[in-house]
């Protein structure tokens, strides 16, 4: 990212999702595009992409999985040589799968994430949040992103996968390289290599030392139509769990903390009416939806007047859809008890987030635990918050005092 950035001439034909202002706050650009004569913008940057911004268009694209395929789901092209070599066939099922395989790829992991199954993570998550707060509470100041939010999802996922918690900082580094600093193709290659080698070793270890009640073991032993699933599937699912479950949820927790630090009235509202929590979490997820996914166009098609070609990349800006005034009244305002909220922070259609019940639980417990112990807090300096953006949007440095 050292090259000099060409300034954006026209958002509608030249948007740049990695432009520093856009990374920090993409919402003004989203609304400018959404309210223009051309609500699906185009850029030639990063090998080109389309950017729909209206709720209706984003949802229609997510639903049309035959036209808009999941062959490429990153907002940038694959790195050179991706998919080659030993284990080159490891992808990230079900997120990278299309029907018909998508169906069983997804179905196999769903039971782990049902509301009933994820409930068992609540106490552990609370204990973890309390331990993180113990570290900072006497200091009177903390980085809500780096000292708190960042550590929660990675430890929950490591527990779910049954892999060593001590490797937290490695996992975090891999995930950031895979999803956050994605302009750096070498970094993505490095992350992929590490993740695959790590899970390969975990699989080998389980063959030598069988374990009971273990996610990876169960995955390895799963049979589909009489045959155990291929090793590529096992590695791919583990890869996805790590990559999809960490940066996303950490970004959501971070944005919620950033919001709460600036809104004493919302802290009070939740204190006085704890029944509001589940609805409030959905509203915060609508407002600060962290994830943008991509699709690859299967065949030439004209979509809403846009001439899309086979192989084109389309960015499904769920964050933009969630602020469309055609769908949400006062879309830029957080209304904790919002009545109608068909938000798509978790996507829409067949790929809709499989981990959403776990994600919600983590976000809620992280906020509840903090607010119980540190009911009053504020930003140290509004102008000194840094953000990640592009594929996943959320604060990376967010100092608060209390």
């Amino acid at each position: 990212m050292t090259e000099v950035r060409k300034p954006v001439e026209d958002l509608l034909t030249d948007y740049d999702i990695f432009e520093p202002e856009f990374v920090k706050d993409p919402y003004p650009s989203f609304s400018e595009i959404r309210e223009s004569k051309c609500p699906i913008a185009r850029t030639e940057r990063y090998e080109g992409s389309w950017l729909p911004t209206r709720y209706e268009d984003v949802v229609a694209i997510a639903q049309e999985y035959e036209t808009f395929t999941s062959r490429g789901i990153l907002v940038v092209p694959p790195f050179p040589g991706q998919g080659e070599g030993a284990y080159g066939g490891v992808t990230a099922p079900p997120i990278t799968s299309d029907p018909p395989d998508h169906h069983w790829h997804r179905r196999l992991i769903l039971p782990v994430f049902s509301p009933q199954s994820v409930a068992k993570f609540e106490q552990g998550t609370r204990d973890l949040c309390n331990a993180l707060i113990d570290e900072v509470i006497d200091k009177g100041t903390a980085d809500a992103a780096a000292d708190y939010a960042q550590h929660i999802p990675v430890r929950v996922i490591a527990t779910l996968l049954g892999v060593p918690l001590e490797m937290e900082s490695d996992f975090t580094a891999w995930v950031r390289a895979a999803l956050e600093n994605i302009m750096d193709a070498e970094g993505r290659k490095w992350a992929r290599k590490n993740i695959i080698e790590f899970f390969l070793a975990q699989v080998e270890d389980r063959k030598q030392n069988p374990r009971e009640d273990d996610f990876i073991t169960e995955l390895m032993n799963t049979e589909v139509e009489g045959k155990v699933v291929p090793i590529e599937y096992v590695l791919g699912v583990c890869n996805l769990m790590l990559v999809a479950g960490v940066d996303t949820t950490w970004s959501a927790i971070g944005s919620c903390m950033w919001h709460m630090a600036q809104h004493p009235e919302h802290r009070k509202q939740l204190r006085e009416n704890p029944n509001l929590w589940p609805t409030a979490i959905e509203e915060l997820l609508r407002m600060y939806a962290p994830v943008t996914m991509a699709r690859i166009v299967d065949h030439d098609i004209e979509f809403q007047g846009c001439p899309m070609k086979a192989g084109d990349r389309v960015l499904m800006a769920f964050p933009a859809a969630n602020r469309d005034p055609r769908q949400f009244e006062n879309p830029d305002e957080v209304i904790l008890d919002r009545e109608h909220n068909r938000h798509v922070a978790f996507g829409s259609g067949i790929h809709r987030c499989a981990g959403s019940n776990l994600a919600r639980l983590e976000v809620r417990v992280a906020l509840q635990t903090w607010l119980e112990r540190i009911p009053e807090f504020e930003l140290v300096d509004k102008t000194d918050v840094t953000w990640a953006g592009g594929q996943v949007h959320g604060p990376r440095k967010c100092l608060v005092k209390f």
Binding site: L110, S114, P115, T279, E282, H340, N341, R342, S356
Partner: protein, 64 residues
């Protein structure tokens, strides 16, 4: 009032169960099931409508 879920359209957002936990639950895959046989009692009707208006897949059908 009666309510049903279109199975093919439901993708397990669980927004319905958040809005009306007395009316909607989840199967082992996280997709919605209706917990009430027959008529929805008067006191749960507002919540049921709210659930309908929070389903991102428009998978909930209410018949009066």
């Amino acid at each position: 009032m009666r309510v049903s879920v279109i199975d093919d359209a439901c993708h397990g957002h669980q927004m319905c169960a958040i809005a009306a936990p007395e009316v909607f639950g989840s199967d082992e895959l996280g997709n919605a099931i209706v917990l009430i046989d027959g008529d929805i009692p008067a006191e749960l009707q507002a919540k049921t409508r709210r659930a309908e208006s929070n389903c991102p897949e428009r998978a909930i059908v209410i018949t009066d």
